[in-house]
């Protein structure tokens, strides 16, 4: 069992809830990513999702797209990010989850991608543009290498699909709160709690909820029903603003961790 799996086992055993913050990796440079990851408190954050910049992210809204484009324009290289994390992994306490397009995974071949990510210090991966039909080989490889694959359930997923996804997804299920792209929303969907309860009854697995979760109040509401709340665009928007202001890596990291502290304060 790796660090990520142990974390979720413990969360389930104690009934504690966690935040899963998302940051764009290598943005604006790998040094900034490392600065952020070093400051994340693993007692409040179950893991950090590190988004791998991609030229054609179809599941992402404008905020994350902007960060991807800016990182790529500055010459983002996957190996440079992996190297920076590997060199600093002993100073990073929180488990790491790579969120990456299948276009990137496929290019290196699934096995090589997972091995490289694992060697860099990642504990799992999410491939948001890959549904289970095409994900079974990747899930098997990921399990073998002990860098498990987290799959997503959407509000549009029917029961049979939900069960298939749950059987593959380790160590938790990512529930996408709404049909749409990533991005901050004012309100949580009204049927969210019902969907999460239903999914929990069907699967018995930990469930973390993402998409549209932007405020401490959202985090508190989500954690009433789910095991964790995933916040992406609300964090990346602050990163975008800090990058725009030309802040140093340490300063961007402070901006991010200050906001994460506001969010974790709302955890039950």
């Amino acid at each position: 069992m790796n660090k990520l799996q142990a974390t979720f086992q413990q969360l389930q055993a104690t009934g504690r809830k966690a935040l899963l913050p998302y940051v764009t990796g290598g943005y604006p440079d790998p040094e900034t990513t490392v600065e952020i990851l070093k400051r994340i408190d693993p007692r409040r954050c179950a893991c950090v999702e590190v988004g791998i910049p991609f030229s054609d992210p179809i599941a992402d809204g404008p905020v994350i797209q902007t960060s991807f484009s800016a990182a790529l324009e500055k010459g983002f290289q996957l190996d440079a990010l992996f190297a920076a994390i590997r060199q600093n992994r002993q100073d990073i306490d929180v488990p790491l989850l790579a969120m990456v397009s299948y276009s990137i995974v496929y290019r290196r071949t699934p096995r090589q991608f997972v091995e490289t990510a694992k060697a860099a210090g990642f504990d799992g991966l999410i491939v948001p543009d890959l549904a289970f039909e095409e994900a079974e080989d990747l899930a098997t490889i990921a399990r073998e290498i002990e860098c498990p694959l987290v799959l997503m359930v959407a509000p549009t997923s029917e029961e049979q699909r939900r069960r298939r996804i749950a059987a593959l997804s380790e160590p938790f299920i990512y529930y996408q709160s709404l049909a749409g792209v990533t991005g901050e929303r004012d309100k949580l969907p009204a049927d969210l709690a019902d969907h999460v309860r239903e999914l929990r009854e069907e699967t018995g697995k930990p469930i973390c909820v993402g998409f549209g979760i932007a405020t401490p109040a959202h985090v508190a509401a989500v954690c009433e029903v789910a095991d964790g709340a995933i916040v992406g665009s609300a964090i990346v928007r602050r990163m975008n603003e800090a990058v725009e202001r030309g802040e140093s890596p340490a300063s961007i990291a402070r901006t991010v961790t200050d906001f994460i502290a506001e969010l974790t304060a709302a955890l039950p």
Binding site: S55, D56, I58, Y106, E134
Partner: protein, 404 residues
Amino acid sequence: MPATTANTSETAGRFGPFGGQYLPEVLMGAIRQLEHEYEQARNDPAFWAELDRYLTSYAGRPSPLYFARRLTEQLGGAKIYLKREDLNHTGAHKINNTLGQALLTKRMGKRRVIAETGAGQHGVATATACAVLGLECVVYMGTEDVRRQALNVYRMRLLGAECVPVESGQRTLKDAINEAMRDWMASVAHTHYIIGSVMGPHPFPTIVRDFQTVIGRETKEQILAAEGRLPDVILACVGGGSNAAGIFYPFIENESVRLIGVEAAGEGLEGTRHAATLARGHPGVLHGMHTVVLQDNDGQTLPVHSVAAGLDYPGVGPEHARWHAAGRAEYTSATDVEALDAFELLSRTEGIIPALETAHAVAHTVKLARELPADKLVVINLSGRGDKDCVEVSRLREQDRGRR
């Protein structure tokens, strides 16, 4: 009615190793519904009869197969025929697909349609089909293409569609596809995405190809009537590859017929300013399909370039990737300059202004027909007309004269 059967197995829609469904979970329900509905529709003679009525009485099919006497004489080689898809309503082959998919949309009980467009031809054809069938229509178009194809933007709006400029990425066709996919993520319950080419996740490559094979079926009948035999060579331009798939497919089993797809070599294959995916690409995954793509070693899509907005795409339909790998079709390319010259040549010799996309197929024919004896038959799929390109071409030619 197309004769093949669809593959409905779980990793469905494979063309050899290519194709498949690489999509976010949120879209899988809609893709399954589309697979199911299309399977029903393709086995329903009433569906094809209704489509046929629209194709003949509304879109103007069959399109003529025209013997290009003056072009043939000028080149002094093989006999050249033009399959006149430019004469269809809206001026290109795109209407064959959009009428079919708009009818499917109604069949699925959806009321809204989204589409991407490069040159604007697919956008106009989608807006047209939606107007005649009473569907709401939103078309995504890169701002670079909005600039290059202002006339088509106006046409779409006139037809009652909303044309949404896309500012992200390279601001061309691939970015318009990304934006349409993002719309679909949120609107999938009541919206159908009419993809404009033989690309994207299964079943789109099959659906679009089936709706476009009317081109090849007519060509076969027409050339047999005119010449009493099959052609020796068929040429078509390839961006995503729908007009090429449409004319090639009915000839796939006729191995004596050479099938040649012409990609955009842009400013030349030596540099990076081209869109010749099969010539320079690698197997990869993009826009829901496993195919050949232009990307870097990290899997990031490379910038592409062509003077023809409709060929400006870093991937290619998965069935073309298979025909290429299997050697059933040949793929070559023509540069911007060669296409511009062919644009002018066909206008002068035949009184037909081809679309800049189509001009790439004409450009390669110029090289090929000269080498062939007079008893060989060549068919070019004249996939679209070039009125839309006149402003851009005159601008480019002015610029050239300025440089000289």
